[in-house]
Symmetry: C2
Subunit: 132 residues, 2 copies
């Protein structure tokens, strides 16, 4: 699935997320885009919906925030789950994929005849720099 040309609003939101060093909430994005004409939450949420659909942005459920995909080129998302390590000190997020984890989870789901559609794997704690 190739990503369609982004609309103006989608590009603005995506740029903000790409330049951010930590995940952003929808309302934070809104504030950052007020100078570009954004006035209402829906403008952000609608853009985010599309970016999520295209797979270029991820939603972090445990902190109600959004982050640009760290692996936009390799389309790892089509053949595996995505996991995130979220530092509660500096806010940094590391996106990673582990085939073994995928495999085990898939195995459990299959053996329980559970048809998975969306997954959330998020670990919160402290990154190497902040753990000191």
């Amino acid at each position: 699935m190739t990503t369609p040309i982004l609309t103006k609003n989608q590009s603005l939101v995506f740029d903000v997320l790409t330049k951010a060093e930590a995940p952003l909430s929808a309302y934070t994005i809104l504030d950052k885009l007020r100078d570009h004409g954004f006035r209402a939450p829906l403008q952000v949420y609608r853009a985010l919906d599309k970016l999520l659909e295209y797979g270029v942005v991820h939603r972090l459920e445990s902190i109600n925030s959004f982050v640009a995909c760290a692996h936009p080129d390799e389309n790892c998302h089509s053949h595996g789950l995505v996991a995130f390590a979220i530092c509660e000190s500096c806010g940094q997020v590391i996106e990673f994929h582990d085939h073994e984890v995928d495999h085990r989870l898939m195995h459990w789901l299959k053996s329980h005849k559970f048809k998975a559609e969306k997954s959330t794997i998020e670990i919160r704690g402290h990154c190497a720099s902040c753990a000191a």
Copy 2:
């Protein structure tokens, strides 16, 4: 860690969750307890905070809801991660534990010197009954 005696409010909230067949939002719990004197969200959230701390209730981040622990006796939570399969049709939640998944995730975290504190593993989709 043994669970302390629950206070009145904590017991009420815990009972509601235990009898529920699906996860409940804090406000749904509030509504169910209005007849017992509950009037404000904080009464629910404060009870939930304690129940989460005691490990007898889990929070499902991806659906902003709470569920009673399915394995209150075995204290699996002390030595492993918890995962949830959430059916988007019937609302049913299956809580499970997989040591292999734990092990792989722990391995990744360790090799990246990431100090984990809380984890969220939630799979949303359709259960065996609803998948038909």
